[in-house]
Symmetry: C2
Subunit: 353 residues, 2 copies
């Protein structure tokens, strides 16, 4: 019966011979109500199948709204799917509900999705901004009243100071990756892929430089090769790594897609990843574990980041956090077969493809 009228507080009150006010108090477990009355009301709520209308409540009482909006690039991307799963788990436990949107990395879609979401009066927003997002424009759209947590990517305009921020420790991750290669005996280590105008690439390059500097190594400019962070571009740009003479024997890659592309590109240059060239990625996508050879990479634990994000938002909703804060999440190295020690003799099979 989609035609039937919804059951309201007034219905329950009438059936019990009480006022709406009393029924309302029962709903929120007020100790003011007599135990017998409470029991009678509870029974009637159950009998009539009453469902609380949170929207109506939040209209009268700010704070009753318990939805939190989450906007990511793409749910089908496992990184964001696991992040969302973490956010959801922490929110559900706290009795909150998740409003989800996705941008597909489009600034315009992001604008539309956010405009639609805020009409539902979320208590807070977790936003992983699309590339090239305009911070000022976002602030205009979202207004000054909505608590926002920016995840994963800094807003271009440096105006992040208004909002909370949670990101991976890109610098430490690249430092770990580079230190691992150094420990494997490599000295000529490239940083491969990514664009310098991206904040995450900048941070990862800084970590790479940190580790080299700590080992007393000045990176050869030829070891720094940019390329779009896709498999195809990485495979195409691989020869650039070997243009100069003291060619690198290992590479820290901007991310796993670049690393997997590099492994393909290496074959074309007569080298084999995991045998006579060491490769490290970043992200630990699912394929990293089953590539050939399996890829050593930096793992971000997106589900844990989701829990972090939800907790930060909940703390802010409880009014615990004062000024907006920047949070940097830890990152770990997963060592697999793609990053062997330097100078391992090639296997029985020929080295040239």
């Amino acid at each position: 019966m989609p035609g039937s009228r919804r059951v309201t507080l007034a219905d329950i009150a009438a059936a019990c011979g009480l006022s709406k006010a009393t029924v309302s108090l029962v709903l929120r477990d007020s100790p003011l109500v007599h135990a017998d009355t409470r029991a009678r009301v509870r029974a009637e709520l159950d009998r009539q199948g009453y469902v609380y209308h949170r929207g109506a409540a939040s209209l009268r009482r700010a704070g009753a709204a318990n939805a939190v909006a989450l906007v990511v690039n793409d749910l089908a991307n496992p990184f964001f799917a696991e992040f969302a799963a973490g956010v959801d788990a922490a929110l559900a436990e706290a009795g909150h509900v998740l409003l989800l949107g996705s941008t597909g990395e489009s600034v315009e879609r992001q604008q539309a999705v956010l405009a639609s979401l805020v009409e539902h009066d979320p208590a807070a927003l977790i936003l992983s901004p699309a590339e090239h997002s305009d911070g000022a424009r976002l602030r205009r759209l979202l207004g000054p009243r909505l608590p926002v947590l920016v995840f994963n990517r800094a807003l271009g305009d440096g105006g992040d100071a208004h909002w909370d921020y949670l990101a991976l420790d890109n610098r430490a991750g690249a430092r770990l990756a580079t230190a691992h290669l150094l420990a494997q005996g490599h000295r000529a280590i490239a940083f491969f892929g990514g664009h310098r105008d991206s904040s995450s690439c900048d941070e990862r390059r800084a970590g790479y430089r940190d580790a080299l500097a700590a080992a007393g190594i000045a990176p050869d400019p030829g070891w720094l090769v940019e390329c779009a962070p896709t498999r195809l571009e990485a495979a195409r740009q691989t020869p650039a790594l070997f243009a100069r003479d003291p060619a690198p024997t290992a590479a820290v890659c901007y991310n796993d897609a670049v690393a997997l592309g590099l492994m393909v590109g290496l074959a074309g240059c007569g080298r084999r990843a995991g045998a006579d060239f060491a490769v490290v990625g970043f992200d630990d996508i699912a394929e990293a574990a089953c590539s050939a050879p399996p890829l050593t990479t930096v793992a971000a634990d997106p589900r844990a980041r989701g829990l972090d994000a939800a907790r930060l938002v909940l703390a802010r909703l409880r009014g615990e956090a004062a000024a907006p804060a920047r949070h940097i999440a830890p990152v770990t190295l997963r060592v697999r077969a793609s990053s062997p020690p330097l100078n391992v003799p090639p296997q029985a099979t020929g080295a040239d493809a």
Copy 2:
């Protein structure tokens, strides 16, 4: 300034020297309003950063609520992540917003999550029920007014007749898988894994029988081996396939997890998947493409199912569909290396592990 008051219709009306009614008409693009007035109001809405309060609107006018709730087992499962991405894409295009919850396959969590979601007054619900869900209990919780689409798994109690239903064509999928093995020359084909009390396993077994019957083959009872749908159990149960004498040369598996487990189990039985034994899975999980050998499997295209689900729900919201309907989604076979023709001579390397 999280303290500042929210901008309302009344604010805009006052600033323009108009009534709230007129401003409300502008918001919904009524042709009644004079063009000049409309322009004046629009400018003021923009100037003050007005954001529409959909909850307040839907309180007065049923139908303004445009959220659709989606409940899945686990967002971190790529099947559901892609399904959710599809739902989201179709809903966003139609101007709807997604309320997300997950059950983790727990009936109790499902009950709690649904109770929390319905308080937000969704216009409809897409529910992929947790295992062992009680249909009657769900109907009591959700009431008769909310349009529901049950996805992927039938409710136990046969009371599905109240709600729309969308599921994969399990039977056709298993039929395709079996026919493929027959075309490869196999005659002794097992159905491996799953439990008979699950509706999807039943349907897949029926498809397997269909294909064998069409080829004039009566399955040997020893070819039907049950096991829990996990990798570990499948590996453990593998020897049961070879207990009788005309042992199968191929197996249709309940799902990919079982198929991957079987590939491990085969090695323990002195057989090699993709060489002297053919394996087909079901689901096309990401690992299927990069297992060794890559797994032939039945693909469900979860993103397309998400689009389907959203469209069915939108049609019902527009009042187009009359009675609840059952929808069966197509499924395709992805042929990879794990299902070679019968009697391919083993490669140079020894056959016994």
